[in-house]
Symmetry: C2
């Protein structure tokens, strides 16, 4: 695996491969890699002749008081893991080159970013869309992959790519989970052993909702109540949101009439964790 830190060098390399007819695949990450990221690399490997993994903790997607400074970082471990998972190029730009003095351009997707995480993290998706647009312009990939754990992020990127005519295939990949069902996340590192045990409630609540729906429940409020009941708020667990929405527009729905996204965000200790599931109404 070759490490590239310079934007100009990455851009030149990407343009060069393109003109040699090589396909470029990109896995954008904020580092502190886990099995979920490695799965993304393996899944997209076959879509590209060159696999680029970017590692960049993007300050533009953290709000004031959020965890930019303490976000976990381990570049040595990351590069070893990315290499073993088949990455050809580790693109690791510097914050000062990505956002030099005087930086002032942002990409905003307006509607799908409004509900869910957009409510409590108003600058988050603007930061995500902006950095992904930049990475796309720098790496010039034919395809890029994003995990479905960050479902709203995936919908936002798809929308941006379509609206701005970016001509890049966006691949969504199913959430990778720990043995007990907890969705893998770099932020799980924030959990104490006690909180880690409680965090399993997120996925359990989603599965109980799926069971309810399979049994014929179609009323949104009944499903949301079940989820809230399983999440059981206490000193360590605090619900940010639990919501049902259309999986393409992310607009709220109150009845399960079609395939529906159940999405939730929960504070567990200092960690803010998210998870989601698709609910399909029983025939």
């Amino acid at each position: 695996m070759r490490i590239i830190e310079s934007i100009a060098e990455m851009q030149q390399a990407g343009e060069g491969w393109r003109c040699e007819g090589k396909k470029i695949a990109l896995v954008p990450t904020m580092g502190y890699l886990h099995e979920g990221h490695l799965e993304l690399m393996r899944a997209i490997r076959s879509h590209g002749d060159v696999l680029v993994t970017s590692i960049f903790v993007n300050p533009a997607q953290f709000g004031p008081g959020e965890d930019f400074e303490r976000y976990p970082r381990d570049l040595e471990r990351d590069t070893r893991m990315a290499n073993e998972a088949g990455t050809d190029i580790g693109f690791i730009p510097h914050v000062k080159e990505m956002y030099p003095e005087g930086y002032q351009t942002f990409v905003k997707v307006t509607e799908v970013t409004a509900p869910l995480c957009g409510r409590s993290r108003p600058a988050f998706f603007r930061g995500v869309a902006t950095v992904v647009a930049k990475l796309f312009n720098i790496v010039r990939p034919h395809a890029a992959i994003f995990g479905e754990k960050d479902f709203q992020q995936l919908v936002t990127i798809r929308r941006m790519v379509q609206d701005l005519n970016m001509n890049i295939e966006i691949i969504g990949h199913p959430t990778v989970r720990e043995a007990d069902g907890l969705a893998m996340s770099s932020r799980n590192a924030y959990l104490t052993p006690e909180q880690r045990r409680k965090a399993v409630r997120l996925n359990r609540s989603l599965r109980e909702a799926q069971t309810l729906v399979q049994k014929g429940e179609k009323t949104g409020e009944a499903i949301l109540n079940k989820v809230r009941e399983v999440l059981a708020e206490d000193d360590d667990v605090r619900i940010d949101y639990v919501q049902l929405c259309d999986p393409s527009t992310l607009q709220e729905v109150t009845r399960i009439a079609a395939s529906t996204l159940l999405a939730l965000a929960v504070h567990v200790g200092v960690a803010r964790l998210i998870d989601n599931a698709i609910l399909n109404p029983s025939a």
Copy 2:
């Protein structure tokens, strides 16, 4: 000249030329071409093997109550003129393909768009940056050219290209003027003969300001007063703004200590006309 209307066809053509090693040059226009546009085509011709002129009246850059509906259009004349000026490809997309239902992504350059025209046309530069980003992604040019008459637009595009790592050379071209000095603009078509005569005051006021500065005047207010005096408001002529600012940041300056942009916007009848000049302090 070949006409392309489909976004997919244009994108495929652009990518194809790139990989054949051909350089692509772009002149983005809203049509109703005049000598100023033709000058841009001739000036950038040598920068590209393929010259693309886009013609698209962009609804996203018109505010409510502005002149989107009545903006002058003459596609037959435009294609003939573009062809004669050396255009290879006339890219003429449809509004419904550029902004399909559900469209919701915008590029916003925050600081350089705030003063001058940004004050009276708050959505204008968001619309400009968005459509230019789209055109760049569709046409994939190596270079694009913009007239200096729209100086703030040029600064905005340069900033966007730099911030979003677009890797496109942005060329600014000096304003092309009528014999009496009026800057060429499609909106000059709105003027009655009487208003057309009065419109010459815009350029005259700029030249008088330059003369003042050459004579040693450095005080901003004295220069602005001279400009306002020459513009002489009456029933047909109403000043939107007259301002002095730094040509890179567009921040207001009150003394001519270095190269300074003098920019103005004036309503002449139903037309809103803009013009500008660079003032260089005498040695």
